[in-house]
Subunit: 235 residues, 2 copies
DNA sequence: CGGATGGTTCGGCCGGCATCGAAGCGTCCG
DNA sequence: CGGACGCTTCGATGCCGGCCGAACCATCCG
């Protein structure tokens, strides 16, 4: 009789987002914490691209997903860990049947995927690992907009980077750039470019000659471990 | 295309259960851990009884709810704490707006609701509290079917109950009986009847004269505290 | 036994929504 | 500049499912 309970509409609306098989597939795919393109998700879920677009619009409007445009690509991720937890609870709450292997088979990484440059900064697994290591060392803040800490500026200066010059430039110091193989962010901006430049000058990295591929030299491996605690496997 | 992800159908099916406003209202109502009748839920959610029936069938078939028939009533509860947790996560995951007060205003308890008999055993708040106290004391096991423990049998004997006679009787010793005011179970069966009988003979309880109401005497209060650690407020 | 009450079944109605393909737009690259 | 590619918008289609009321069944009570 008219008296409708408090939070029921919101709860139903939230649940409805996951009540569609295609949207559920999308969210499960995104559980790997990586960013997927719209087209990939469409293929993965087995629907037309237009259909996927509508689902992505819906999910981003609801705050379940966040997207990031990069050129003609639309990368999309789960909005935050809370949402990921919700998806996990939902997916885990199906008692019958063994837990599905949500992790896709690790993609075979080409040398290019391992380490390369993106415009003028480091990308690939190396770029992402570098960003992680910088953050772990307290040199890089990654909440919301990325920023180089004071400690980070000092560390850069120690490498021979002209930090003051960098600060005066129009270009932002630190930018998050979505990595197309790792699907996670690596460091772009003035600091990213300066790092690549200094790493090269110091002989820590060297171009492989193919495309924009690079490799980490022996000195580079030692230096990364010493400076940032980053262990980079031989390859 | 065609490659549809693993657990997506199950997840969507699960989410679909909560994706309806009426079903969401029902689940939220049941978050208070009590058992509601089908008619109550229909009124609460503002739908026809037939509609509520369909929703309840759906939810019980899916294992979200369990029901218990009692005469012409159909009592329904959340199936288990896991489900309750899921509902809570869903309801909590609506960032905007303050958390709704899910606890209904405590119903005004009549004297009858406090303590009465149900057929031949104790019911009302007293009956439920007694069952809780018996369980806490290790005299009553309440997993799945209810059962009197060995310790419980000894305790009954100490009260003057002929336990051997009870065991030989066709009637089950311990039964869970759904309490219509508390919406939780109290103790029925041979042990329940024997307890009421002995409590009365010992002067721990006495009939009030109205309906099937009873009251706990002064000695009863002391005895319940001494024997079971059950503190029964004056009233 | 008969009326009152709680619950269920059935048929039919209707709205919402997931889907697709075609056309259009923006970006990238040679 | 022009073609290829990724994505989005739009209109049309069809189905799924939530809703109700009427008829029916079961239980309780006097």
């Amino acid at each position: 009789m008219s008296r409708r309970v408090d939070a029921a509409p919101e709860m139903a609306a939230l649940a409805r987002l996951f009540a569609d098989e295609t949207r559920a597939a999308i969210c499960l795919a995104l559980l790997d914490r990586r960013a997927w393109t719209a087209g990939e998700l469409a293929r993965y879920a087995g629907v037309a691209r237009s259909t996927a677009t509508e689902h992505l619009n819906l999910l981003t409007a609801a705050g379940v997903l966040v997207d990031e445009r990069q050129g003609r690509h639309r990368y999309v991720r789960l909005a935050d860990p809370q949402v990921a937890a919700l998806v996990e609870v939902l997916s885990a709450h199906t008692p019958p049947g063994p837990r599905p292997a949500t992790l896709r088979a690790a993609t075979a990484r080409s040398a290019l995927a391992r380490a390369r440059t993106c415009y003028d900064h480091l990308a690939g697994a190396l770029g992402v690992a570098l960003a992680d290591a910088l953050a772990d060392s307290g040199f890089l803040h990654r909440d919301r907009g990325w920023a180089v800490s004071n400690g980070g500026a000092g560390w850069l200066a120690g490498l021979g980077v002209d930090v003051e010059h960098l600060r005066r430039a129009r270009r932002p110091m630190a930018l998050a750039c979505l990595d197309w193989t790792e699907r996670r962010h690596h460091l772009a901006g003035g600091a990213g470019a300066a790092l690549r430049s200094r790493f090269e000058a110091l002989g820590w990295i060297a171009p492989t000659g193919i495309h924009r591929g690079i490799r980490v030299t022996g000195e580079g491996r030692d230096a990364l471990a010493r400076e940032l605690g980053l262990t980079w496997p031989d390859g």
